[in-house]
Symmetry: C5
Subunit: 188 residues, 5 copies
């Protein structure tokens, strides 16, 4: 879910105050939500720290449960374990290599993530960065950071600000790159 | 499920009165049905609005539950959540990008949708538009609109007018394009 | 499960009396079996009518429950719904288009059919015709008809004549085309 | 799981007395085990007879439950039905054709077999022969026979002689062809 | 999950004393954990022995349950059986051949492993070596050994030293080869 769009738009992540208007006040929450973060030792970027940092910028009302597994094919079991520990939503963070075998691994990993979601009935937001998506390590690091943060906003919105993500429906969001935007002529 | 057919036929969507003959009167319904709509922020067209608008043109007897998720791989969990909220059928609306990785995403998404349906025993009508199906943005927008609306008719028929969709069995319907029609010589 | 075989053999479908020897008498059946038929509006041939007609030629002891869905990816949910209505076996009838995307659709559809069967523990006989299997519409219509009818015989045999299908084990049956037959020298 | 290895080794199948040393005496078995055999009418070789014949050569303590289905995509439901009838292990015997569509069928079939095993927690030993694995019909028949028999030994060992199959761990067994053997220098 | 990285780093496996600092003392464990090892007779290397040897080097507090199956498509059922016997985690050890059909087998095997994990909620660490990953048998044997051992460390860490694997999060670990390491400039 990431490719170069035609036009650059405003980034979704950012300061917490800028988003306060849409946020449900934490004081109204019945209980603290639990957000699970499962990441891998295979990844070449510390995605979990980026996700947790961004989540905390978005607001309050949640605790983070973090868990590290070896590779992307272990994410589904990790997510299931986090749900069993009481998480309401899990972010599954991983990196996909360049080789054909890695693409089959990614399909197997996705299969597992879908199977767990179908069973548990809660979201696992998969954040996958493919090693060949950027031209050098610095750009790749930037992509890891941005995509992870933008999905952290999605995670927060799914739990606390459904109106905010609904407002983005059909608008061509692209996590990690500039947004594609809505098709020309479809928005007034 | 959409490609250019040999001949153009009458479109299925349209005014509500034209279809009244086949509709089950809402007054006979035991309870209001619930139709879930899950769409994405990735899509470049507001498919949910088109679906809801068309559903309302078809008749009464239902309430809509709407939910937005980031991308197509999140549709299955979204649909499962809508079933857990009492929906009788879910329309899952999404856009598939041009790259090979997007096709794998679509397969993973479909896998999840099948897994949820197998578990819940209710329909998720997947409406997917591939970015490369049209030659420009205006045509693509038209395709998004038409395919979504024609599947909204399918959704309504599955719940309220099974005889109407049965009457279309084996007739080569193509949502979003002109219908292919039945094979030559197979219908009197 | 259909390609041109080396030699042409006697067709399996046909008059009911010719098969009576192997049929379990309907009078011995504990209760009427229910055979579900789920077909699609996407298909360009009325497969359900062919299936029902052939089933009735095979014998008695069953009732048919028919259900139409939009496309092949909706067959699994349709089959699950038919099992929930009490069916003992379901025939899932569909057509697969020419494009690469259609092949992915078929894989997703098959996945769903397998998932439902694994869960329910009853057969869904998938009857799929690929649009490119025949050179023109007339031949394609013939293929639709024959393959559907031969699988209707399979369905009837699985429920009522297990000895009949066992007698065909390892004999290279090809639904819709002439049979491939057993390997040379392996049958006396 | 079968291709031409570098070196030819002793075949695993054979006379019952030769294996008696490793077999658990049938008299110690708490109850008769049930081995299910599901095969297809699509296959061009009578795999079930070969499997049953070889199982009986291996020893006692089991009964065979046999069941025939149309094609490989029906094997998973067939296996599930055999488990529901009390089988402890199922051999699923099928043939895969030459065409790309057959490879997708095989993947769908395997998917179903995995789904049933995940659910039931018992082994389904899939024995698949691809039509293009041999250069002519006689050789293909030989491959069908040998692979099926060698997997029958595996089935018997999983139920009655776990020490025997453990002794083959990591030794490059190839059912149907000569074994590949362990990597050079890894066994004393 | 293994390809040649740019730089060589220190290997993870090694003497037990070197890791003692991070290990949870066995005396605090409520009960002995059970680690399942399922391997295959298809593999050309004795992966199970390497895994067990390395696990024992890592520390105490666990018992090993070992089980051998024919090939990688049998690993999922084997793992499920080991979970049913009380295992807390399973290592699934297998070899993937060179042919296209082997890659489909690997996908089917992975599918099964994911399905079991989704159902059971415990980890199956899949350790797969592809026959073409090394240039000769000696190098391949070395790869089998190293990858298996490094995943044995992962297994031990998941059960006993979660802080140790968390410390490797995002650091580009590559089991069987030198690690890729974190992206340049992302770690101080």
């Amino acid at each position: 879910m990431a490719r170069a769009p035609a036009t650059t738009r405003r980034r979704r992540t950012g300061s917490r105050s800028a988003r306060r208007g849409l946020a449900a006040p934490a004081s109204k929450a019945k209980r603290l939500k639990r957000i699970g973060i499962v990441d891998t030792s295979f990844s070449r970027y510390d995605m979990a720290s980026a996700a947790i940092d961004e989540l905390r910028k978005q607001g309050e009302g949640f605790a983070v449960e973090r868990y590290t597994v070896p590779g992307i094919k272990d994410l589904a079991a990790g997510a299931r374990i986090l749900f069993d520990r009481g998480c309401d939503l899990v972010m599954a963070l991983g990196m996909v290599g360049r080789q054909p075998v890695d693409k089959d691994c990614a399909l197997a990993a996705d299969f597992g993530l879908q199977a767990v979601q179908a069973r548990v009935g809660k979201h696992i937001l998969g954040v996958m960065v493919h090693e060949e998506e950027a031209k050098d390590e610095a750009e790749l690091a930037g992509l890891f950071d941005r995509r992870t943060r933008e999905h952290a906003v999605n995670a927060y919105d799914l739990l606390f600000r459904p109106a905010a993500i609904r407002a983005r429906a059909g608008t061509g969001q692209r996590e990690g790159f500039a947004d594609a935007g809505p098709l020309q002529g479809t928005r007034p």
